[in-house]
């Protein structure tokens, strides 16, 4: 017959085993899991909401020398339509005979409709600590109107197809003192820079998750950042010179990335480290 002390030993032994199993499970948790936990915990309460609110106000507030609103701006689905437009951008626009992304198109509307000089907007197109950018807040508002909708960027127009092809080439273009191209960091799966997992933008799943979460509020900067900013800062880190705001090089690269993300459910504005 089992005496009490044996019984205690068995119970202790069992609980020790359970603890060991639990410890093993804990150690199997990777840093990526821990970062995922962090991201999940901060996902509620996105300060980008304030930029969306401000952008919505700017959209319907008369501005510029012509003192008109942007409500006649055609972002691809007709004047004033904002719902779902981001899922089809970049796209070809007949009036400018160009492929344009959201920010490039907003620039067109602000210059043509409102009469704001292009040089004025292009001189400081991104938000800073001291001053938030109107075009960034407008973009944040517009993308919010596509939340939950599927990305469906077309390459049916020859100029759209060409923009995609050129964008792909820009992605692979190595230059600068570091010999970097976009592909240096974004064409391999399951690698990270420092602690951040890098999306392999040649793989649909990664490309979708990455593209569909921009624009995003950057915790590290305390500002909401647009896709034009994302590309601008990638080129900075790539040790390239600065791409001109809303230039063809940025639009074509966006086209390549957007098409790679087709089918994704748009989830922006996001919230990132």
């Amino acid at each position: 017959m089992m005496n009490t002390s044996t019984l205690i030993k068995i119970i202790l032994g069992m609980s020790l085993a359970i603890t060991q199993i639990a410890t093993a499970a804990e150690s199997e948790k990777t840093d990526s899991d821990r970062i995922a936990q962090y991201r999940d915990m901060i996902s509620d309460g996105n300060p980008a909401d304030f930029d969306e609110m401000n952008g919505a106000e700017l959209w319907k507030t008369p501005a510029g020398p012509k003192h008109v609103t942007l409500e006649a701006c055609d972002l691809g689905k007709g004047p004033g339509v904002v719902k779902g437009v981001y899922t089809e951008l970049p796209r070809y626009f007949k009036d400018t005979d160009k492929v344009q992304d959201l920010e490039s198109r907003l620039l067109t509307c602000m210059t043509t409709l409102q009469g704001i000089p292009e040089a004025e907007i292009v001189a400081s197109p991104f938000s800073t600590e001291k001053k938030k950018s109107d075009i960034s807040m407008l973009a944040t508002y517009i993308v919010g109107q596509s939340k939950g909708m599927k990305m469906a960027v077309s390459v049916s127009h020859p100029k759209e197809k060409e923009a995609y092809e050129i964008g792909r080439r820009i992605f692979n273009y190595r230059a600068g003192p570091y010999d970097f191209a976009c592909l240096t960091c974004h064409a391999t799966s399951d690698v990270r820079i420092r602690m951040q997992d890098l999306p392999n933008l040649n793989k649909p799943k990664d490309a979708q998750a990455a593209y569909a979460s921009w624009p995003a509020y950057r915790v590290s900067q305390g500002l909401t950042r647009t896709f034009q900013w994302r590309l601008n800062d990638c080129f900075r880190q790539q040790r390239f010179p600065e791409p001109k705001f809303a230039s063809e090089v940025t639009v074509d690269l966006s086209m390549f990335l957007a098409v790679s993300a087709n089918g994704a459910e748009y989830a922006g504005p996001g919230l990132k480290r």
Partner: protein, 157 residues
């Protein structure tokens, strides 16, 4: 309460102007707008100093009646989410402290009857260290702490 009167005053335009003027000449410290905003606790430079300023003496460690949830790794120290749930009866106050921040005491939360003893907020962290939840229940103090690793994010440039 002085607190409420001042608040009422602040809501009127004249009140704000007057207040701003007093602040500017240093006659009235902005902190005084809150009757019980404990300036010495909020300016404390280390944990002991903060606890002393709060009148807390060696709080009992309890990780069962205080559930403190923080991320193990924070991708950026500018936002570190903190969730505290306490199962003590009669929780009056929950404070959050960040061990190695220049200002250790991050916040006090005061719970009237009927408000559940839980909260979620976000703190800044200058470096890897412990986050401490300090709970006051039935006049006694209890604490629980967890380490958060703060990392250098991205390309670092």
């Amino acid at each position: 309460m002085i607190n409420m009167e001042r608040r009422a005053l602040l809501k009127t335009g004249g009140g704000i102007g007057l207040f701003a003027l007093f602040s500017a000449v240093g006659l009235l410290k902005p902190g005084l707008a809150m009757a019980d905003w404990n300036k010495s606790a909020f300016s404390a430079k280390n944990l002991d100093e903060a606890l002393t300023a709060m009148g807390v003496n060696k709080p009992e460690v309890n990780d069962v009646f205080i559930q403190l949830t923080v991320p193990e790794i924070a991708e950026n120290g500018a936002i570190v989410p903190v969730k505290v749930v306490s199962t003590y009866p009669n929780v009056e106050r929950i404070s959050i402290l960040v061990e190695k921040n220049p200002n250790v005491l991050a916040a006090n939360f005061i719970f009237p009857q009927g408000t559940e003893p839980m909260l979620t907020t976000r703190v800044k962290m200058g470096q890897t260290c412990s986050v401490i939840a300090l709970v006051k229940a039935d006049g006694k103090y209890y604490r629980s702490s967890k380490e958060v690793k703060v990392t250098a994010g991205g390309c670092g440039g």
